[in-house]
């Protein structure tokens, strides 16, 4: 089958669309590259919104329903914008045995949001991860991309308070 020419106009002049376009070109605009392309969109924009899903669907010549189906099927993809900071709590078995549930409770106490939610002020997103593979350092938490081993509930509380500016005033 002939690869589809990249004739779909970019949604805006935002330079990040060029990265998305580059990924699609690398895979010859094939339908099988859908997941890779969605990864690039999320990496560039932080989440998948309707504009990007429509753009990807028409560029790869896929029904929007298929793209939406894939985007919602996989846990890794998010359709909501992330907060300024992200706190990923590993809820794998190793971390669970070592008390990851208590870390979640500590977060709910301070930030009043649960897994998959963002604080109303948009400061902090809380994510529950399947398993980040740091089982021997459990319980593990990722604060803004950096893995912290053997985390105590007090550590999580302190970090969240700093992010939310509680101790600044």
């Amino acid at each position: 089958m002939q690869a589809y020419p990249a004739s779909v106009p970019l949604p805006s002049s935002d330079k990040r669309w060029k990265l998305v376009e580059a990924t699609m070109r690398r895979y010859g605009h094939k339908a099988s590259s859908l997941i890779e392309v969605l990864h690039t969109v999320q990496e560039s924009f932080g989440y998948l919104d309707e504009v990007s899903l429509r753009f990807v669907a028409s560029s790869l010549r896929l029904p929007l329903s298929t793209v939406f189906g894939v985007a919602t099927y996989y846990h890794f993809f998010s359709l909501k914008p992330p907060g300024e900071h992200t706190c990923v709590v590993c809820m794998g078995t190793g971390c669970y045995v070592k008390g990851a549930g208590n870390l979640m409770k500590a977060i709910e106490e301070v930030a009043h949001v649960g897994a998959g939610e963002t604080t109303p002020d948009g400061k902090v997103s809380v994510v529950a991860a399947r398993c980040i593979g740091a089982c021997s350092l459990s319980p593990a938490v990722i604060f803004d991309g950096e893995v912290f081993p053997k985390v105590q509930p007090s550590t999580v509380k302190d970090q969240l308070r700093r992010w939310m500016g509680h101790d600044a005033g």
Partner: protein, 555 residues
């Protein structure tokens, strides 16, 4: 590149290494990195540079050494001294280590290589982990890397390679334990112009991280195994389906692929033969069911990772309806040593039906958390007490959970059982990918079962009714019991429903989903009964606990 040229590079590399008196290997795998081993590496390199020792002492970043509990880890050669919990922020400690390379090891941080954790292991898959720089192909070539591949391509027929695998008795390390040689011969015999080789690196089992460690520490080993497999079955295109949650593994894989292509060890006309093989990395996106082979193939095709009924098996109709060979990371990592040392050598290790070694991740309530590789047939007791160093805080062993969410909980009475595929199955668990979660006597088994069922109902893809509805109903029953509202008939319902899901679900995920419930019900039934009759959790873990404050504080 030909075999002779490869050997020349290996010789040259070995010669260069001979000139170096001291080697300091610092682990830069993800576990140690999160404990700032990169700063330790940098600190040591600066010290060696300042002291003008660059000619005699080489400091390099290597892969995982296994004992994650004592990270960041490093080792000094030729003395073979391990250092654990090396503090990156204490330059005087780093200086003491560098200044005492010839003398006595710095006592506070030194670990003896004779401790059972290191001494009791037999390393095949992990033999290069912690030894070589994963981002330098020359390091891998110096330890006979890619020799097996070029030797196969130049001197052995395809059938010969498959026969060697059959002779070795290697079985799939992803969980199922299907004989690898048999799978290879099926794909080799399958009719089709285009064939594919896929590596399952979607290590979804929470509590298992052996594949991540292999990919981060020795990526070339996996690539070589895949290339040999491709040669044996007649494929020219391969995919590595890797979790997006493992960014470091993905990065190192991509570096390794580029290096191997540049040297002509992957790509067109490998070893100047007619054999060509290209490899691409495909990212997973966090769906547990994608560990199932048909779901994984759908995901590589860019679709929702949903399993389909088999037959047809992927060996006949897999990726793009072509014959496809699918093995996991650890299986491929066993291939090169088998072809280098022979199938008979491999078959001499392990038990009658489970050959070779297995990598296990020891996590949870155990002193030496980390990765170990031991011969098949070792007892659970040895794993937990000898290598694992026992249970911390003077508590008692309660259960070990093997095989991830699809596995079962094994109680103390089976601790002397040998670890192999058949024995684990006989007590209602599975080998799985090799995660071993050890729980002490503070664990509540109802809570554990509920945790796993929550995971499974969330991960059920929803295609078949037994799994979609069954896991939710099982979870509901468990929740009722843990809330203190359980009834005695709930236990029978759990058993009946569990057995129904096991018999009728479409794929392995659903069929194994009730295992944590059925195994805890079989071995820890009195705990369930206590929740129902006393309406309280004996371990203070569940919502029905008498003292909720204690349950919130946990341990």
């Amino acid at each position: 590149m030909t075999l002779d040229e490869l050997q020349e590079i290996a010789e040259q590399e070995k010669e260069e290494q001979k000139g170096i008196q001291h080697r300091i290997n610092v682990s830069v795998a993800a576990g140690c990195l999160s404990l700032h081993s990169d700063l330790v590496l940098k600190g040591l390199q600066t010290l060696v540079h300042e002291r003008g020792m660059e000619g005699t002492c080489k400091v390099k970043g290597v892969g995982c050494m296994g004992l994650c509990a004592a990270g960041p880890l490093m080792r000094c050669e030729p003395q073979h001294t391990y250092y654990g919990s090396v503090p990156a922020d204490r330059p005087e400690v780093l200086a003491a280590i560098v200044d005492n390379l010839d003398g006595k090891p710095v006592p506070e941080f030194a670990l003896s290589p004779d401790v059972p954790f290191f001494a009791k292991q037999q390393r095949i898959v992990l033999e290069n982990c912690g030894e070589i720089d994963p981002e330098r192909i020359e390091d891998y070539i110096a330890v006979d890397g890619y020799q097996a591949l070029l030797n196969c391509v130049a001197n052995r027929t395809r059938d010969d390679v498959v026969q060697e695998l059959i002779k070795s008795g290697l079985r799939g390390r992803g969980g199922g334990g299907y004989p690898t040689g048999l799978k290879w011969s099926m794909v080799a015999k399958a009719k089709g112009e285009q064939k594919y080789v896929i590596c399952n690196a979607d290590e979804g089992d929470p509590g298992a991280f052996m594949d991540r460690s292999v990919l981060e520490s020795d990526p070339h080993r996996v690539l070589e195994g895949m290339a040999i497999a491709a040669y044996a079955v007649g494929a020219d295109k391969g995919y590595i389906y890797c979790r997006a949650e493992y960014p470091l593994a993905v990065k190192r894989l991509k570096i390794a692929i580029r290096q191997a292509e540049k040297m002509g060890l992957l790509g067109k006309r490998i070893g100047e033969s007619d054999f060509s093989f290209d490899v691409e990395v495909r990212l997973g996106a966090g769906a547990f069911v994608c560990g199932e082979e048909t779901a994984l193939i759908a995901s590589v095709e860019g679709k929702r990772g949903v399993p389909r009924p088999r037959p047809p098996y992927p060996a006949y109709s897999g990726l793009n309806h072509s014959p496809t060979l699918l093995n996991n990371v650890e299986t491929y990592a066993n291939v090169a040593p088998i072809l280098r040392k022979g199938g008979d050598w491999f078959a001499s290790i392990g038990t009658a039906k489970s050959k070779g070694t297995k990598v296990f991740a020891l996590v949870g309530d155990v002193n030496n958390t980390g990765l170990i590789e031991v011969p098949m047939g070792i007892s659970l007791r040895d794993l937990v007490y000898t290598l694992g160093g026992g249970i911390p805080g003077n508590r008692n062993f309660k259960a070990v959970q093997t095989g991830g969410p699809s596995g079962g909980c094994i109680p103390e009475q089976y601790l002397d059982m040998p670890v192999d595929y058949e024995s684990l199955a006989s007590v209602g668990s599975i080998m799985g990918s090799g995660g071993m979660i050890i729980m002490d006597d503070s664990a509540c088994m109802v809570d554990v079962a509920k945790f796993f069922m929550d995971f499974m109902r969330d991960e059920s893809c929803g295609k078949c009714v037994p799994c979609r509805v069954g896991t939710t109903q099982l979870y509901g029953l468990l929740e009722r019991i843990s809330d203190g509202n359980g009834r005695m008939e709930d236990l029978e319902n759990l058993e009946r429903l569990g057995s129904m899901v096991q018999r009728t679900a479409l794929c392995g995920l659903g069929q194994n989903a009730p295992n944590p419930v059925t195994s805890t019900l079989a071995y820890f039934r009195d705990e369930y009964v206590k929740h129902i009759t006393d309406k309280t959790c004996p371990q203070n873990k569940c919502a029905c606990s008498k003292t909720p404050a204690a349950s919130a504080a946990g341990k």
